[in-house]
């Protein structure tokens, strides 16, 4: 009976959140834009007119036209096709980093908040990592791991882990003192059950908002790493790589930089819009 009541409450809360999300214009704009990029990424082979690495000596640095929407680069590669395939790299990195750093950060945050003996040690390590410039730490880690997309995911997950751990810890510390947690403990529930059933569901909202932010940041920093030549190695069509290559012929072919830069802005903007709306809907306190 009690479980039935809990289930109905959780369904109605979910419906309430969905309704508020659908009524929020910013959220809808952000989600639609993000969906467009998701479709581009998933259906890249169908949407892109050319292979992203197909070179054509006849079409070197051609301006935008009907056959090449965003023109071509110095190898005669179609910039539109490269940008479409680039969505795969960026979204893959952004999504993986937000999931991986989310899982690890939540674990660290939970342990720190729940087992106070480890709190000081864990949070000192997190603080030190936080005090270090994110891009510098990412570059240093990439030096150790070597440039590849997978390593960029690992490096960025390490870089963004402390932020999630901090948010999780502070939320858990607040929730831990609530009377329903005390009641659960009095009823004989163990640590694992309290964490899973009572604490995690209540800190999830703040974590989702935080990880949306990490999603956007990871895309920006992956682009920066590739731009510096230490991220996804060329000739992979990552947006940072396209921007890096465009630097040498900015004077004669500015469209390459314009196209790849604009898509980074649009995709990051769409995620930020979704994140901002989620924050307003899920956790007005944040």
């Amino acid at each position: 009976m009690r479980h039935e009541g809990e289930r109905i409450r959780s369904i109605s809360r979910r419906r309430h959140i969905t309704r508020r999300f659908l009524r929020n214009k910013t959220a809808l704009a952000g989600t639609s834009l993000l969906l467009v990029f998701l479709i581009l990424a998933v259906f890249a082979p169908v949407i892109a007119p050319y292979s992203p690495n197909k070179m054509s000596i006849m079409d070197i640095l051609a301006p935008p036209s009907w056959s090449h929407f965003f023109g071509t680069d110095d190898f005669g590669r179609d910039v539109f096709s490269r940008v479409v395939y680039g969505a795969r790299v960026s979204l893959r990195v952004g999504f993986s980093v937000s999931i991986l750093s989310g899982l690890l950060g939540t674990l660290v945050g939970l342990v720190a908040a729940y087992y106070r003996r480890l709190d000081n040690l864990l949070m000192r390590i997190m603080d030190t990592m936080l005090s270090f410039p994110a891009v510098l730490l990412a570059i240093a880690l990439m030096a150790v791991f070597g440039p590849s997309e997978m390593n960029a995911i690992f490096a960025l997950s390490i870089v963004y882990l402390p932020r999630t751990a901090r948010v999780c810890r502070s939320q858990v510390l607040a929730v831990k003192e609530e009377s329903y947690v005390e009641a659960a403990r009095a009823a004989g529930a163990g640590d694992a059950r309290i964490l899973r059933r009572h604490i995690l569901p209540n800190v999830l909202a703040a974590l989702i908002v935080q990880q949306t932010l990490v999603f956007a940041l990871a895309i920006l920093v992956e682009a920066a790493l590739s731009f510096l030549g230490v991220g996804t190695p060329p000739p992979a069509p990552s947006w940072g790589n396209i921007l890096n290559e465009s630097r040498d012929f900015l004077r004669v072919a500015p469209w390459t930089s314009l196209a790849s830069g604009s898509v980074i802005v649009l995709v990051v903007l769409s995620i930020n819009l979704v994140g901002d709306s989620l924050r307003d809907i899920l956790d007005p306190k944040l």
Partner: protein, 315 residues
């Protein structure tokens, strides 16, 4: 307070030791060493052996790490970069000031733009001016700084030819040259960060304007302008300044990428050499010195905050 500072200092030393060991050691695990990278195609077995001996790479890892660590602890010597063949402290001493200068000027610009924008947005909440400020701020956090830099180069250097497209002139050489070479990078850093500052200022001020004492001031008939300035902005500034101080580290990270766009000889060049040439002495030196600086800055911000705000007590 002294106890708090001492504990933080000891924790910092431990973390720095772990960092140094991790970065010094991890580079060893990856295939390829600075000798083969530096010799390139000229590498022969004898040349490689001779250079490994000359650079001390023939000794076991722990012996090398110990020698390096004793140098750091006893003489403050962070070793000599394999690739550049210069002391790491000299390299960083010549490059880090340029990075910090750009980051500081960028931070200043972002405060000059972001703080008034955030105040106006909060004071006119929900009106068009607030909406415009929010759009500007959201765009600011979504645009990559290095792309903004590329666009500046295309507009002001390539098309209009007003400014140099890159390079850096030290202020000691020419003030006007320094200004010209700094305008675009500083503008790119400042504009991007102004969005974040404006968001912070707006949300903090809105929180303060909801406080009881603000309602009391309004009820007393104080003009709205004075309510915002005297009661609102004054009380919102402390948390905002603290947060801005703490975001300085991320600003420096952004500056490193901007340096590459404008070919500025800052810390990014040293770091990228360390990465590409597998120079673990240079990498560990850069990581440690930058870590020391930022941990110190954050510690100073913490202490300053505690001094300014008597509600905070450290245990």
């Amino acid at each position: 307070m002294i106890g708090f500072a001492a504990r933080r200092f000891v924790a910092m030393l431990i973390v720095l030791f772990v960092l140094s060991f991790a970065f010094y050691g991890l580079m060893e695990l990856i295939p390829g060493d600075p000798v083969t990278v530096s010799l390139g195609t000229r590498a022969t077995e004898e040349l490689i052996q001779a250079r490994r001996e000359a650079w001390g790479l023939d000794k076991p890892f722990l012996a090398r790490y110990w020698a390096w660590l004793s140098g750091v602890l006893t003489k403050g010597d962070f070793g000599k970069s394999f690739y550049l063949q210069e002391p790491v402290t000299d390299i960083i001493a010549s490059k880090l000031p340029v990075t910090l200068e750009l980051a500081s000027m960028g931070l200043l610009l972002s405060i000059v733009i972001g703080v008034p924008l955030g105040i106006v947005a909060a004071a006119y909440k929900g009106r068009w001016i607030d909406k415009t400020a929010i759009i500007f701020a959201t765009l600011g956090v979504s645009i990559p700084g290095f792309w903004m830099g590329l666009n500046f180069i295309f507009l002001f250097a390539v098309t209009l030819r007003w400014l140099p497209s890159g390079g850096y002139v030290y202020p000691s050489e020419s003030i006007s040259g320094w200004l010209q070479s700094s305008i675009m990078p500083v503008a790119a850093i400042g504009l991007i960060n102004a969005g974040a500052v404006a968001r912070m200022m707006r949300s903090t001020l809105l929180e303060v304007l909801n406080e009881m004492y603000v309602t009391v001031a309004r009820a007393k008939g104080v003009q709205e302008r004075w309510v915002v300035i005297k009661h609102g902005v004054r009380n919102a500034m402390l948390p905002v300044v603290t947060i801005i101080g703490l975001t300085y580290a991320s600003l420096v990270g952004g500056t490193v990428v901007i340096e590459t766009v404008f070919t500025i000889p800052g810390i990014s060049r040293a770091l990228l050499i360390a990465v590409n040439k597998r120079d673990n002495i240079l990498l560990t030196g850069c990581v440690l010195l930058v870590a020391v600086i930022f941990i110190a800055v954050n510690f100073a911000v913490d202490v300053l905050y505690a001094t300014l705000n008597p509600k905070i007590r450290y245990s």
